[in-house]
Symmetry: C2
Subunit: 341 residues, 2 copies
């Protein structure tokens, strides 16, 4: 990370952390179980509710929100409630995703439902969803005009609906044999990209940017989110094991329906035949990758990623970001788009 | 139901239904699965998404919201988004409660998770939670001032947090041996009364009532909700089978920890001893009721119900409701407080 981005993001993420702790009532006293479960999931306490320091994840979304607000001519501190809301919302969705996917661990720790049971974990997730809204509501205390707060809340909940539609489709795809490239793109847009897009949109709205500028920042976030996800699909098959930390071709071994695979299944009878068999051995993986390369699935996916990347860069430029936050935002964007892990 | 209340509530509930259908995108065309699951739970379609008419429940909360708005000097139509939000929120909570309680049926139909699985039902509940917020957001389209919308949304989400705290406690109590009367009262306040209280509070706020009047309507709803729940506890033990439709003493047979039982367990060693045994036969039920009567549990519970009932009536009077909606509101209140089924 360059120094400019590093300095500014340290300040911003420290303030974000304070904001989230305030919303989620983490005041350094022993929490009751209701709050303690939330604090555990946020990585602030262990399962006995004793303080710990767990790495909170990259917090890219709130950082994008705060940087966008500042780069669009606003004061990033005014956007802290929205940034906190987006990060709490994201964490809420992980609680329910972990139940829905039956995931026993997350970031090296037991998931909430593993410790406290599915019933309580569903309910605590719901509480976090409500807290995310209460975080948003604090915009009014930061002097954001009430009509902008109402509009921001509308966009927040429209995005939540899109997120649940994306998750619905994702779970549905696992049970289906055929999924089209178009369906898949709609799914990852809902499941991943709209929340990145909301982050930049709200930053711009809170800065009081005009609708044209807001539209560019919104599309910047959307393209950035899509580019990031499509690159993830490339790394899942052609990624460098030493960089990604996952075994190579992991998405082939698990037969995951990602963009290159779905494109390949649309294009190649050979891949369709291969995928009717169990993915049991190295031969399967080698053959699958050969077919994907041969039928143009890798090129197709890379072209998509490039198109979204260019879209993101173009829209960010068209939004005319200014000041040191603009430099940091551009650096962050480049980092996210050049990811190889 | 008296004619005044009957006429006004028919008009209001028809408009409420239209509002909810609009928010939940039920436009008389075949829904996709995502929307269809929601429409099924609302009682608008069957599990093949064909239109049906299922009785929607009493819809007391939205009716209280609309009547309060009108009686507090507002136009009830302005409160329709809040009334719809509260009813959708209530329905969302039932989706997750049914999963948490492993309930296979509700209102004579299969629950959502029974048909579409726990994973999709959790997610669809989340979508309904988001839609409830989008319903609230439509207040702005009805001409409610933005600062009032922001405040109403804050109260909405603070109430959601209370609801999840109540549900957390309720599930926790099932696993515990000792629960105090005070803990129980806090639980039912969160699980039941705060949503009734929110209904009347938001009606008054949207009417533009002053803070004193809002406070009386808020407390009216809270006392009404508590009175209703405590009476429910009385009916669960001493209710008339021919009126309640449940078998008498059902809460004794299931050893449910309701207010009279918890009071009895605090007061009577005999009841504590009895409750260590299985509730297997009629002798158990007869003995339990004898002890509850003897130790004053019935009187205690009836006194509590009376106190909340009087509180509700007093606060409603102190709020000075006016017009035909006031008459309807008073009639509805009397009906709810005189319940024997």
């Amino acid at each position: 990370m360059t120094n400019e981005l590093q300095t500014i993001s340290q300040t911003m993420l420290a303030a974000l952390n304070d904001e989230m702790r305030s919303v989620l009532q983490a005041n350094n006293t022993m929490p009751d179980t209701f709050h303690g479960m939330i604090h555990y999931h946020m990585g602030w306490v262990d399962e006995s509710f004793q303080p710990v320091n767990v790495h909170p994840g990259k917090q890219i979304r709130p950082l994008l929100c705060l940087l966008t607000c500042q780069a669009a001519g606003g004061d990033w501190r005014q956007a802290l409630p929205a940034a906190a809301a987006i990060e709490i919302l994201h964490n809420f969705s992980l609680v329910h995703d972990d139940i829905e996917d039956a995931s026993p661990t997350r970031r090296g720790r037991q998931t909430m439902w593993q410790i406290w049971g599915i019933e309580q974990a569903i309910n605590t997730g719901d509480a976090m969803f409500a807290f995310a809204h209460l975080a948003m509501n604090r915009l009014i205390e930061r002097g954001v005009a009430a009509p902008i707060v109402v509009q921001a809340l509308r966009r927040f909940d429209e995005t939540c609906v899109r997120l649940t539609q994306g998750q619905h489709a994702d779970m549905d795809f696992e049970k289906r044999i055929e999924v089209s490239v178009a369906e898949y793109m709609a799914m990852i847009e809902g499941k991943t990209a709209v929340l990145v897009s909301l982050s930049t949109e709200l930053g711009a709205r809170i800065a009081g940017a005009n609708e044209d500028t807001v539209a560019h920042y919104t599309q910047f976030g959307l393209d950035l989110g899509l580019a990031f996800q499509v690159k993830d699909d490339i790394l899942g098959i052609w990624g460098d094991e030493s960089l990604t930390g996952k075994s190579a071709a992991t998405d082939i071994i698990t037969k995951k329906k990602t963009l290159p695979v779905l494109y390949g299944l649309e294009q190649s009878e050979a891949l369709r035949q291969l995928y009717r068999q169990p993915a049991a051995n190295d031969t399967f993986v080698r053959e699958a990758i050969q077919i994907l390369d041969a039928c143009g699935a890798r090129t197709f996916t890379q072209n998509r990623a490039s198109a979204y990347s260019e879209g993101a860069v173009d829209h960010l430029q068209a939004a005319h970001p200014s000041g040191s936050a603009a430099v940091a935002l551009q650096t962050l964007t480049e980092m996210l788009l050049q990811r190889n892990a």
